[in-house]
């Protein structure tokens, strides 16, 4: 569903992402991890069509993101780490507006169900200024899920959520993957990645360090057998002292 080939992003002389290639199949949850400044957010924003890669190709559901951006983006949903909302639209109006952009004809049916699922029903008429950080995050997720995307991009999805919200968010992500969506999830919370991701992509300084299921990664590094993902991550990124 998501195919990334030789993705490179340069900012002047700075290489944010370098020749990164990977894929996310339908029903798969890929965890994107790496130290600060590794290029995780740049990778996600490139796949979301927000920034243009310097080189490389991104294909979403068979649509080249550069050549058919509208068709490719129609299959995508990007949930950034920081909720970005229009401060003069209510929760309900956000869903209506996003539904119109994505051509969701049955928004009147889907929106209430999503509000119910994300426990935002009693906030439907509320402006973002009145919402807590976690509520804003939920609204961003609701907007992303409204058009039933085939590819989901999450950047630190648990930030600002309470324990109940964290549990529900994990369920939502797993449930979407079970229904056939490809999920790419970037997070520093390695226990989250370990818990819900089927495979892991570790990057550092814009380059791929390891890619595969945890078992596959450990198979390539017998010295790390039996260690947790956190220990594997520290060892692979050279952060272990």
């Amino acid at each position: 569903m998501i195919e990334v080939k030789d993705l490179t992003k340069l900012y002047g002389t700075l290489t944010a992402v370098s020749e990164l290639s990977f894929g996310v199949a339908a029903g798969e949850v890929l965890g994107l991890v790496g130290p600060n400044g590794a290029g995780k957010t740049t990778t996600l924003r490139s796949i979301a069509g927000i920034i243009r890669p310097t080189r490389g190709q991104i294909v979403i559901g068979g649509h080249d993101l550069q050549r058919q951006p509208v068709a490719a983006k129609a299959l995508l949903a990007f949930m950034p780490d920081e909720p970005r909302l229009f401060d003069y639209l209510t929760v309900e109006e956000h869903l209506r507006f996003v539904g119109r952009l994505y051509g969701v004809a049955d928004v009147d049916t889907r929106a209430p169900a999503l509000l119910q699922e994300l426990e935002l029903v009693d906030k439907a008429k509320t402006l973002p200024g009145e919402l807590s950080r976690g509520m804003k995050q939920k609204l961003t997720i609701a907007c992303g899920l409204l058009h039933e995307p085939k590819a989901l991009l999450f950047d630190e999805p648990l930030t600002g959520l309470d324990p109940v919200g964290i549990r529900r968010m994990k369920q939502t992500i797993v449930e979407r993957a079970r229904r056939g969506a490809a999920v790419l999830l970037s997070s520093h919370l390695l226990h989250l990645v370990e818990e819900i991701c089927t495979r892991v992509l570790i990057i550092q300084r814009g380059r791929k360090v390891a890619h595969g299921s945890i078992a596959e990664i450990l198979a390539g590094r017998p010295d790390l057998q039996g260690r947790s993902l956190e220990e594997v991550f520290l060892a692979l990124t050279g952060a272990e002292t």
Partner: protein
């Protein structure tokens, strides 16, 4: 505490200056800096006519201290009565976080804030004097700077004391009008005492003014120096002494009394040990939100609070062109962030003034038409700059817009349409009011038919005019995001001023260039129609409509091009996110 305050002030100043200087390595800031400097040079050194001061003004110079003391007294009374702040100083969010949690006593926090604010007060005093003196440094200017700093510092402390007094009254259960009534009563006692002291001198002052204004000013000055009023105003006269000292010797002589007043205020404020942290923290958050809104180019618009929950003007259909959805979103935002009561008050005021000014020659309806034309003209010229519900605002959320399956052309079209629709609606309303108000008039204006033709031409021209201005500003935002007011890091300083001057001049040039093809088409159409025997005014109206269509085509072409720019825009490279 003193060293900490001095360290913070010194490092903040040094770091801010270095940051500005380093920024000049970028051409866009360097060009802006040069233009900004040229503007200041013109502002300060442009040729000014030198006219001798009138005799009355010369006489007033001698009475500056007592008259200034009276003015200060009025200012302080208003501040005590009308002020509402219960926090003695404006704290930044960082200050509330670090100072209020540090192991400092309340008095130490106040002392820190007082010392910290002296840098900005001194800079304000220096700039105020330099601006009025054409940037000439002389001994007398240095005295003025010192004197003005004393005044600023004392006023700041006085207002802080007023805030403490309000907080104290609140602590004792006196809030709202009851608190204000108490302050009014106190002020009335002070004013009554002053009046009682000066009442006997008033006939003499009035007589002196009727004889010679200079003598009147001298008599008034004498009254303000003597009696009860003289005693009441002494601290303020002492404070103003160094500022208006004519010689260095007079400055030195006046300094001890002024410093005494300042020291007394300092002791007064620092010895106040009332709790203010909670109110100060709330005020800091409000101020931060307001500054953030201003930096994001929303002017003095109040950040959207919870109370704004008006329903959307129109319901958005689930399907249809995405540009219309963006238009809907922006118009909803515009309706929610502006209060219609301002317009209602304006309308009532205009009708009332028109009614009172009306005469047989120029009736109230004529006045109403005049006001409508003035307001309409103002809305047309400044509306596209004021109504910023387009990319100037939405580029902050560029990630949301760019990740949506919408072509850049549709995004730009929807964004540009929003201010154009809003401003056009306003201007049309004013134009129609003016037209309707002039319907009864049969003399002094063209006949009704040509008048209608002019109205049609004007109505057609408005969206084209607004469209050009709004398109230009959105083009600047897309092509030179660092020059436009987007996001939280809006540039300030001389270089930013220069950039804004360039953008504004560019806007008017773009308007001229954009209108040119339309003007040519309008002239050709009007000429051809006149040859064909169509009356001139109708020919011109048809020409204007033709010109508007031409300008509309140019705008459509620009929107398509800007759409491609939007598609190619890299928010990270452009410094947007």
């Amino acid at each position: 505490m003193i060293t900490a305050a001095l360290y913070l002030s010194r490092r903040s100043l040094v770091n801010a200056t270095w940051r500005r200087l380093r920024r000049l390595r970028e051409p866009k800031y360097l060009v802006g800096f040069v233009v900004g400097l040229l503007y200041f040079w013109w502002f300060l050194y442009r040729p000014r006519g030198t006219r001798p001061a009138p005799a009355f003004a010369a006489a007033l110079v001698d009475q500056l201290v007592p008259l200034g003391a009276l003015a200060l007294a009025v200012l302080l009374l208003v501040g005590w009565i009308a002020g509402s702040s219960e926090t003695p100083f404006s704290f930044s969010l960082a200050e509330t976080q670090f100072l209020f949690t540090a192991p400092l006593t309340r008095r130490q926090v106040i002392a820190f804030k007082v010392l910290r604010s002296q840098t900005s007060l001194l800079l304000s005093a220096i700039l105020s004097v330099l601006l009025f003196s054409g940037f000439h440094f002389t001994a007398s200017r240095l005295m003025r700077m010192g004197g003005l700093w004393l005044v600023y510092a004392t006023l700041q402390l006085n207002f802080a004391a007023a805030a403490f007094a309000r907080a104290n009254l609140t602590d004792h259960g006196l809030t709202g009008w009851r608190r204000r009534a108490g302050l009014v009563l106190g002020a009335a006692v002070v004013v009554g005492l002053g009046w009682w002291g000066v009442r006997q001198a008033l006939p003499g002052i009035a007589a002196a003014f009727s004889d010679d204004p200079a003598q009147g000013a001298a008599a008034l000055g004498g009254a303000l120096r003597g009696g009860v009023l003289g005693v009441l105003l002494w601290p303020l006269r002492a404070l103003l002494g160094p500022l208006f000292a004519a010689t260095p010797a007079a400055f030195v002589a006046a300094l001890p009394a002024a410093l005494l007043v300042l020291a007394a205020h300092y002791v007064w404020v620092v010895s106040s040990a009332l709790s203010f942290e909670e109110v100060a923290a709330e005020a800091a958050e409000k101020t931060a939100r307001r500054i953030d809104a201003m930096r994001r180019g929303r002017g003095l618009e109040t950040p959207l609070p919870s109370r704004v929950r008006r329903p959307a003007l129109l319901r958005l259909a689930p399907t249809g062109p995405p540009a219309r959805a963006i238009l809907w979103k922006n118009l909803t935002g515009l309706a929610r962030t502006n209060r219609p009561r301002t317009l209602v008050f304006l309308a009532i005021f205009a009708v009332a003034v028109a009614g009172s000014l009306g005469s047989r020659a120029f009736t109230p309806l004529d006045w109403l038409a005049t006001f409508a034309l003035i307001f309409g003209g103002y809305a047309m010229v400044f509306g596209p700059f004021i109504v910023r519900f387009d990319l100037r605002r939405d580029l902050e959320l560029v990630d949301v817009l760019k990740s949506a399956p919408v072509r850049g052309r549709d995004v730009v079209a929807g964004e540009i349409l929003s201010p154009v629709v809003a401003v056009t609606a306003f201007v049309w309303a004013f134009a129609l009011i003016a037209y309707a108000a002039t319907l009864p008039r049969v003399t002094g204006l063209p006949p009704l038919g040509p008048r209608t033709a002019i109205l049609v031409a004007a109505l057609a021209a408005v969206p084209a005019f607004c469209g050009l201005l709004v398109t230009y500003q959105n083009a600047v935002v897309l092509l030179f995001p660092a020059w436009a007011a987007i996001g939280p890091d809006r540039a300030t300083g001389v270089e930013a001023l220069g950039q804004r001057i360039l953008v504004m001049v560019g806007g008017w040039l773009a308007l001229l260039v954009g209108l040119l093809p339309g003007a040519v088409v309008a002239a050709v159409v009007a000429g051809l129609l006149q040859v064909a025997g169509v009356p001139l005014v109708w020919g011109v109206a048809a020409g204007v409509v033709g010109g508007v269509v031409t300008v509309g085509c140019a705008i459509a072409f620009a929107v398509t091009w800007l759409g491609r720019v939007f598609d190619r825009l890299d928010p990270a490279a452009a410094g947007l996110s």
